[in-house]
């Protein structure tokens, strides 16, 4: 089963994306707690795209596509902005950052904590793709 929404790159659309993913997840029988975790991870990914890939310029597309089967719930988020290097944000820095009152990397750390798999890829010269996957055993 596949569901898709395309929104413009403004933070006012985060609520639209959250509602879309929440509705799809709950309708497919995923429990509320897991749904909340997936939705927050998607919010963080879209926020990163708006801030970093599109540099806070609105009117660019963010495509959010949900692919699901009995084994997994996968959200694929595509943008056409600047390339992003996920390795530039290291998980191990987060506690040190907190102690030093630095807020960098919070969103990336949350994403990686909330779902089972986070995968970043780039189609060179075209688009960035983030895959957030929750597996069901």
């Amino acid at each position: 089963m596949k569901n898709e929404i395309i929104v413009e790159s403004t933070t006012s659309n985060l609520v639209v994306v959250r509602k879309f993913v929440t509705d799809v997840a709950l309708k497919s029988g995923i429990d509320e707690d897991t749904t909340n975790r997936i939705v927050l991870a998607v919010d963080e990914a879209c926020t990163n795209i708006i801030r970093h890939a599109y540099k806070n310029v609105s009117n660019y597309p963010i495509e959010v596509c949900v692919i699901q089967n009995k084994n997994k719930f996968e959200v694929v988020i595509t943008d056409y902005g600047k390339p992003f290097d996920p390795n530039s944000v290291k998980n191990s820095d987060i506690k040190d950052n907190l102690k030093n009152y630095k807020k960098g990397g919070l969103g990336m750390f949350l994403m990686r904590s909330l779902v089972d798999e986070v995968d970043f890829s780039r189609v060179e010269g075209q688009k960035n793709i983030v895959r957030l996957i929750k597996y069901f055993s």
Binding site: T10, L14, V15, D43, T47, I94, L98, K103, G107, L110
Partner: protein
């Protein structure tokens, strides 16, 4: 459509901010302005009451971090109270309980401020 509201209260020298609704990258600047406004008035004892907060993302969490150093330098603090399990879970994932006082009730947070004097 706004789905976030901030209310200000005072209890002696402690400033209390009530958050309501959804705190994300869209609404975080509003929260940032609220704390900035308090600090501009040279008030550094702040309680953030999350009783009616339905959602928080890292943009909201970043606001707590942006001001905590300045507030503590001025012998104040930002204490967090009344967070629902859903909200507390997000604080917990990021290790906030190690660095911030998170209390169950507003009274507990007020007591902690009065003990420090």
């Amino acid at each position: 459509m706004t789905n976030f509201k901030i209310n200000f209260r005072e209890n002696s020298d402690v400033q209390i901010i009530d958050l309501k609704g959804y705190l994300d990258a869209h609404t975080a600047p509003e929260f940032e302005n609220a704390i900035q406004q308090i600090i501009n008035n040279k008030q550094y004892k702040i309680i953030v009451n999350c009783k009616n907060l339905s959602y928080i993302s890292s943009a909201g969490l970043g606001v707590f971090m942006a001001y905590i150093e300045e507030v503590r330098k001025n012998k104040g603090d930002i204490k967090i109270t009344n967070a629902s399990p859903k909200i507390y879970n997000v604080f917990d994932i990021l290790g906030f309980p190690m660095l911030y006082e998170i209390t169950k009730t507003e009274e507990d947070a007020l007591k902690k401020f009065s003990r420090r004097i």
